[in-house]
Symmetry: C2
Subunit: 332 residues, 2 copies
Amino acid sequence: MKILITGGAGFLGQRLARELLKTQQKQIITELVLADIAPLRDAVLLADPRVRSVTGDLRQLLADGVMSGIEGVFHLAAAVSGECEADIDVGLHTNLDTTRALLDACRSLMQPPRLVFSSSLAVYGGNMPEVIADNTLPMPQNSYGTQKFICEQLIADYTRKGFLDGRSVRLPTVTVRPGKPNKAASGFMSGIIREPLAGVDTVCPVDPQTGVWITSPRFAVAGLIAAFNTPREQWGGRTAMNLPGLSVRVAEMIAALERCAGGGGAAVAARVRVQQDETISTIVGGWPWRFDPVRAGALGLRGPASMDDIVAEYIADYPAAVAVAAPTTDAP
Amino acid sequence: MKILITGGAGFLGQRLARELLKTQQKQIITELVLADIAPLRDAVLLADPRVRSVTGDLRQLLADGVMSGIEGVFHLAAAVSGECEADIDVGLHTNLDTTRALLDACRSLMQPPRLVFSSSLAVYGGNMPEVIADNTLPMPQNSYGTQKFICEQLIADYTRKGFLDGRSVRLPTVTVRPGKPNKAASGFMSGIIREPLAGVDTVCPVDPQTGVWITSPRFAVAGLIAAFNTPREQWGGRTAMNLPGLSVRVAEMIAALERCAGGGGAAVAARVRVQQDETISTIVGGWPWRFDPVRAGALGLRGPASMDDIVAEYIADYPAAVAVAAPTTDAP
């Protein structure tokens, strides 16, 4: 099977690519095309003969025929929430128009490909019930969420028409992301764990009592792959599926950091300084943080059991990024 | 005030234009621009010095500056459901891309205009609760409904950003429409009343036990004008509003025709022949027909009281189109 990952050189794209290429998946992947605006730097992926990395604007790559022979797509590429809020045209171009171009490229194939679309909890906001159900009406309160929700609708209609076999999943905020901060309004949810563990001071731009809905990279990747592998009839409907996550307050994230950072935990956690940012607080504070993802649960999907597990997973997966004392817990 | 109606030469656009120009509205309308792909033929409107009719593709008209000085917009222009289902590209161009161009034209104005968008009950479908509430999740089951729902999202986000003051209303099927049949899947809901009253045989393409959610032209126009005139804070939120209507089975529509058509009513109703069309039955059968439009009700909006009222309204408003015996009831 020939698979395309858009945003394939991004953090989640690379994690997904590595997982897809693992032994148990080997027989099905003949070629894995990683398309991204940025060049692929992951040495493991670059060394794999099945991996082909293509770099450029996705619309140009599509025009250049990147979809040729593709049977499966993971569409992760997107402008992030902070960028979209700062410049609606960037979001409309990158998230809406480019997705449409991708969907039309799928449609032009002889065999309709399977497509997994990473949508987001950011579709929700505004006056919501306390717990988000699978059929809660999204009322996006930011441009990123609006654009994601619109793409969900297009994918559902293209699926109904038989142009592709689309499955949209709404990811909780994925944390802890390695590497440098990005412009996502949710970026601090990784930063407040990652930076202190690296011995770097960082800012928490929201009230620590803010509740958030998060998942770890391992669970996010597992959810994306399950969305791809689940038979259509079992998937159930064309509406986007809320993936499971963990409901946690930011203060509890910092407390878990302290617990997981070994002997010097208190000093590590002290590297987080609260300094509220109005724009970020408004965006993140508008997102719901309690969900009841029944549909995903029925497929056997689950989220991280605790914030301690999430911190431990990061320490286990990115040991080189951890400058502090040895962790006291193992990854789940 | 200078107002633009897109689809202004269409049936609903002309009705809306006439109503807006009536005495009680006179002081506020300085110019009413009716933009349409088809030329305006309404003699009353053509004779009104405040009316300016412009003909052409809306995107071209926008490029030619039709929005110059506009303070209010009623966006009614759309490819209808049957067209969109037959050719998704027609719908994406006419309903999605053209609406985006309109919204961007609004955004380019110095003063953000007020905009009323006519969305549709067609956003709903699939596995729904028996009664549609204001916050029921739309899961569009046809391309027309998908495109309308997407435009609602764009308008909500543009409103949030302050580019315009948008109010989206979801109209029940408007019946009885005068004139010739169009390609809307819902077209028969007018045809089964209009054609027999004109002495013409017609086909009902769905099971007469099918339930439908309808309103009359007068109530539809009143809803659009209320959406325009209601103060923002009273309008409540940026989510599209379900307008009130009447829940009725097709068989009851035909029975009302028989009652309202005077002495020869049975012969008039006998002009309706049931011959099911699978495409139309699928689209229309997928639409809900029981609603609880609480939000609209709180603004004092209401729908027709009965099917008899709807038939009587048509007979009163379009006497020249009625070939049969004098009606037995008056318009509401």
